[in-house]
Amino acid sequence: MSMSKVIGIGAAPKRKEDLRFVTGRGNYVADIKRPGMVFGAFLRSPHAHARLEAIDVTAARAMAGVVAIYTGEDLKADNVGGLPVGWGIHGKDGNPMKEPPHPPIAHGKVRHVGDAVAFVVADSVEQARSAAEVIEVQYEILPAVVSVVEALQAGAPAVYDDIPDNLCCDWELGDAAAVEAAFADAAHVASIELVNNRLIGNPMEPRAAIGEYDFASGQHTLWTTSQFPHVVRFLMGEFVLHIPQHKLRVVAPDVGGGFGVKQFHYAEEAVVTWAAAKLGRPVKWVCERSEGFLSDAHGRDHFTEADLALDESGKFLGLRVRTLANMGGYLSTFGPNIPTNLYAPLLSGVYRMPAIHCSVKVVFTNTVPVDAYRGAGRPEATFVLERLVDVAAIEMGIDKRAIRRRNMIPTEAYPYQTPVIVEYDSGDPIGCLDRAEKLADVDGFEQRRLESARRGKHRGLGLSTYVEACGLAPSRLAGSLGARGGLYESATVRVHPTGAVTVLIGTHNHGQGHETTFAQIVSDRLGVPFEDIDIVCGDTAKVQFGMGTYGSRSLVVGGAALSKAADKVILKGRKIAAHQLEADLGDIVFEAGEFSVAGTDRKKKFTEIAGAAYVPFDYPLETLEPGLEEQAYYDPVNFTYPGGAHFAEVEIDPDTGTVTLERYTAVDDVGTIINPMIVEGQLQGGIAQGVGQALFEHAVYDESSGQLLSGSFMDYCMPRADNFPAIVVAPHSTTCTHTPMGVKGCGECGTIGSPAAVINAVVDALQPLGITHVDMPATPNRIWNIIRNSRAALAAE
């Protein structure tokens, strides 16, 4: 455990939050019991697309322990609203996206397997589940469509009767004419067609929610596995249940991983809160894993065609991207924003790309809604660009590192305005690549390849660079792109009379180590011992406001608010010190936890000033309020742009098609690093998720029935400990020019850089067989077939 001392920025103290987790004393939603609590279970549609003709709950209601059964009609009759969308985009014709209602429990029609049909409340979970099985539902089964390509075909089943073409929005970004001109001048055009595979985030803690209502106060409480409790309070209170904000408390206690999956307002949250008020008893729902597969928002699921125009030297002239993005059966909270605003603006990558045009068709299908999953749009953009660069390099006979270096933005060219909205403030892509190729021992690769070949194996080396926009988000810019709320963050620094500090912050900690990192910032700024600082988040009754944790924003935006609040504490402390030391405010300096009169030995300790603020006898009461607690809101002036270079090295067994990840090296520019231990952990975990996408994970729907075929951990391949080598991560940081501490964020870097690095390595290994592209995931089955087919083709020549 830490000693009583200041632990500041750049140190790597062990995490404050660990003790409760290693001893089994965490407090997750599923662990919470409330007096008189009853349990809920959802009946979910077994059909991908059907009309709900009749629901008979008579037999179910008569079963032992059943307290109540609710259908979509009951919610509708009680004026329960639909789940709102937090981001509205406009199509290239200027019209708003199609935004059909999203009832918490379906009525009229079900639109995906897993769509909620009824909610049963009983004395036990088992009783609720048993009764749900007895509910008789008459479905008129309709034809279903699950793929984006199929959904846009003429005559495809319509997910919504009034949206016959299934097109939510036909969106674009960039200058089409400039791109056409670039292609007209091109010496070479490289083209690719690829799939970004659908993923299921699967945080290890399944979602859960408990609703409770207190009649005397009229207070509703929701405990939920959420990354952003204040946003849930706003969306659910305002749009769904019509509960005034001051009568609704949302608590997200310990949350077992999020990765985006828990940053949406989900139907179940509203249903338990509503049912608890109806019944006057706490109602608890805990998602089963297989239920989560059918109700957690999914990620990715793009089909893309892209072309890169180059001059004869391999310099990029223009990029043209056409993407079809799956939204599923309803729009999830941020769904339409992900394949548009978080995708196309990143297509310049770390390169000078004079012209870009990207069109995205956002499409409804009979699948689970698709929304942000770690990286969210940026891994998809990186995958398109970095695959395409490799294809161009191969076709033009240019070294893959050389073609990248030739096009990279040199560090002195920052700030760099891309043709697609964003202006990168800082970066050093060439420096990242230089360092990564040394750490990855690229020079030794040929030797290792030959050694693998001697054993009959194909070895490949893959490189991906990336840039991401994170620290979501500058509110005004986000608003101009369709955001329906601000994206600032807030923090309160509460200095107690003893000088100990409680921070109340609007971000949410669900694995990222905020209790440690934020305490380091306060310790650094105020000179308060690390152990005298507590960080509080996740409860709307405690924390003033906040937008939560997603988009690598907690340190970048929340940390900046915290830094600002600490500045205010210092300013007030200087005023108190000026009074006590009988000096001008301008002469009071604060350093290393002491307020002193510049150039003298007259000083006051931080603890003395804190004490004086609460016992204001020797205090400027005429001009200054007592107390030492300051709050700040911070709205970022720009996104931050972490970036980096990743090398993956794989070995492929041609007899089985098995791809083994042999080495992984990542060099990332995350700006100023507060706690290097935590940053490394974030990168390693992110890389593993990206490797999971590249090699293992795939949410597969049956094309005709719309059934999710990969609906459990038996069928959906999660990465495991024996799938990885030790992962090498190293920083190569430039300082962000516009965040208070120069930070850029690190939560998503690993997931953004790694899929392209791994697939580029797989393709590199198979290049001798004439293979230029492999879709994700590169499973043994897929690779074995590719090898077999290419051998057959070679033999036929």
Binding site: K14, R15, E17, D18, L19, R20, F21, V22, T23, G24, R25, G26, Y28, A30, D31, K33, G201, N202, P203, M204, E205, P206, D254, V255, G256, G257, F259, V286, E288, R289, S290, H510, G511, Q512, G513, M677, I678, E680, G681, Q684, G685, G686, I687, A688, Q689, S712, F713, M714, M718, P719, R720, A721, D722, F724, A726, I727, G750
Partner: protein, 158 residues
């Protein structure tokens, strides 16, 4: 049904439903919520406890099967209670072997069982052994490091 077992070194007798799983007994009836449920197909290992000194997934064992046996959960891992961490708990803390903490109890119990069988496991042996425990946060890198460090500390403690 009435069953008797040793739970975290203390004898208990308790009445359970015949169909109750061991993990339900621990979490719901005994409020030992350190043992987690992360899936419904016995894949994730978040519910892993020791039964008669060996790791078992408590979601695949009936509570009545524990009758007459000895069960240890993460809450009982350190003989000193909360006063002093078990060397494996300390190693996870020291090596940043956890992020969200949800898989951690299962990882710890699995790791302690491994070291009981193999006091000095190699990195490959650790990775192979942990194949039945899923973690979504760490990429396993620091978990593997923690288990190797924890094994060394357990050897030293002997």
């Amino acid at each position: 049904m009435e069953i008797s077992l040793t739970l975290n070194a203390r004898p208990i007798s308790i009445s359970v439903e015949p169909a109750m799983l061991l993990v339900e007994l621990l979490r719901e009836q005994l409020s030992l919520t350190g043992t987690h449920v992360g899936c419904d197909t016995s894949q994730c290992g978040a519910c892993l406890v020791h039964f008669n000194g060996e790791s078992v997934k408590s979601c695949t064992m009936l509570a009545i099967s524990a009758d007459g046996g000895s069960v240890m959960t993460v809450e009982g891992l350190s003989a000193a209670g909360l006063a002093k961490l078990h060397p494996m708990q300390q190693a996870f803390h020291d090596n940043h072997g956890l992020q969200c903490g949800f898989c951690t109890p299962g990882m710890l119990m699995s790791a302690v069982d491994l070291v009981g069988r193999n006091p000095d496991p190699s990195e490959t042996e650790v990775r192979d052994w942990l194949e039945g425990n899923l973690c979504r946060c760490t990429g396993y890198h620091n978990i593997v490091k923690s288990v190797i460090a924890g094994a060394a500390a357990m050897r030293d403690a002997k």
